[in-house]
Symmetry: C2
Subunit: 134 residues, 2 copies
């Protein structure tokens, strides 16, 4: 299946910088706020709204992934290959996980539930190492 994304997009220095930040922290899954903090070093007047708009725009155009987390700032991911996420419900820490090795049968799950499970959007909530003790 091939999907073509037609979203009009001009060049912008801010967006380029955002993509660079995403690229150079492939496993970081940063929040918009963290990207914002990094950008401010270069763009003294950039606004958080711009960061959100760009991250959303890039996600809609499938340049990056938006990982929605429960009651925590969303996270963004530059990695586009099929993979999934484990999100700490306490601190939001997000790590990649390959469900292939875990034998989760997504097809069976879809058939059973009627839900469509998007390639990149399986996210499992748990409690990460740092938050186990509380």
């Amino acid at each position: 299946m091939i999907t073509i994304f037609v979203l009009k997009m001009n060049y912008s220095r801010q967006r380029e910088a955002i993509l660079n930040i995403m690229q150079s922290g492939l496993l970081d899954h940063p929040t918009a706020d963290l990207v914002y903090a990094k950008l401010r070093k270069t763009f003294k007047k950039i606004s958080l709204a711009t960061v959100y708009r760009n991250l959303n725009h890039l996600a809609e155009s499938n340049f990056i992934l938006k990982i929605k987390t429960p009651n925590m700032p969303d996270r963004f991911d530059y990695r586009l290959e099929k993979h999934h996420h484990l999100v700490c419900k306490n601190c939001g820490k997000t790590i990649d996980v390959e469900l292939r090795s875990l034998r989760l049968n997504a097809a069976a799950l879809e058939q059973l539930t009627g839900f469509k499970i998007d390639a990149n959007t399986i996210s499992i909530a748990g409690t990460c190492n740092d938050c186990k003790t509380f």
Copy 2:
């Protein structure tokens, strides 16, 4: 393993009504707002804060389950047996899913990732039947 919950709790008519609502819609996974709407029929002056406080309190005391959903109102569940959830990332619709039958090896997942996966808190994001087309 036995866990004892010692939370001081007085009787309150509001809380009783909330528990009744939860009990009588076992598969509904209602949001706080929906519970609030139902309560208003009986309690004309009840406030949303009270609903949230009670639902949270009941969840902390393990009378009900709090299901945090990505960028959507949280949902609450009266069913306490070990089971998990599939949450539509578009409309928030939440359904039960027994991961046993899907061979997700939670133990392996925990070992691999260092995350602790709570018995009742595995939630997988997808797109439900009604939201598939858009």
